[in-house]
Amino acid sequence: MNTLTIYGQEFDSRLLIGTALYPSIDIMRQAIEASGSQIATLSLRRQSPENNGGEAFWQIIQSLNLTLLPNTAGCHSVKEVVNLAKMSRELFQTDWIKLELIGDEYSLQPDPIEMVRAADILIKDGFKVLPYCTDDLVLCRRLADMGCEVVMPWGSPIGTGQGLLNPYALENIRQRLPDTTLIVDAGIGLPSHATQAFELGYDAVLLNSAVAQATDPVKMATAFKHAAIAGREGYVAGRMPEKQIAQPSTPTMGMPFWHQET
């Protein structure tokens, strides 16, 4: 089947999109629509007069009828993750949670040790966990073994747009976890990065800055929509074998002008 499966739900689009950093809420809306994404990430923050915009945001999001994926971005401890997750579940009426437990302020890298503890608690509490993790195979497998049907290794640090820094590691994870839904989360900067992720066999890509911070976010969203199709179709179609020596495409047989002496 050529649909994306996340905890039993099927989706036609293989792009998960973030809702942050757009020039305006209206551009966000247009970009999300242009991307064709059916799943969007969002978060929870303290109410305050300033983010009354929060209400406008919430209206728009509901109107787009997307599947929501709340994150625990900004959490630095198991306790913060678990409680923010519970608040999300109640407010967004979903047991999906993008587990994000930051282990380093500069790289915003997930903490491989603490996040496993958090995932364990959340899973036992009935959450459907989508963990944002590094490209460490043992960590990814452990999360899968614990019951994460989806695992989301990074391509490169959040918001850097450096693409896939270690394709070898990502490919390795794909080969070793054939039955897990794998999503490249974070680091995507260009459409070709997304296409490459699919060519490595990844099931989906989650991105935000690459679209939101493009000069023209709506057009870039369109670009990524096609990039996802290109990569997925290309993966399913089966690439030509890579060769070290050149191979003529045009046949040499029947070449004119060549007459061996008689």
């Binding site: 973030g18 809702t19 942050a20 950093l21 757009y22 966000m28 990430t41 969002l42 978060s43 929870l44 923050r45 303290r46 109410q47 305050s48 983010n51 929060g54 209400e55 945001f57 919430w58 999001i61 709340p70 994150n71 971005a73 306790k79 913060e80 409680n83 923010l84 519970k86 608040m87 999300s88 109640e90 407010l91 967004f92 959040i158 918001g159 935000n208 800055s209």
Partner: protein
């Protein structure tokens, strides 16, 4: 009495010294949709009425916001 909500001190003149969370949220003027934690522990809506808040408590009242 004073309670800390979302990082700021809120002056509340409640009859009792331990008002219910329901009262506190009303006085705070929390706008739905929101979710609540006291001292970092999630409190389910169903618990608001029977949860009493004491001055030393730290409250968080959160709402949806964009995220990646």
């Amino acid at each position: 009495m004073k309670i800390k909500i979302n990082g700021e001190l809120l002056e509340i003149d409640a009859e009792t010294n331990t008002p219910s969370l329901t009262q506190v949220l009303e006085l705070y003027g929390a706008k739905p949709p929101f979710a609540v934690a006291i001292n970092g522990e999630f409190i389910a809506q169903s618990q608001y009425a029977e949860t009493s808040v004491s001055p030393s408590d730290l409250l968080d009242v959160v709402s949806p916001i964009f995220g990646g």
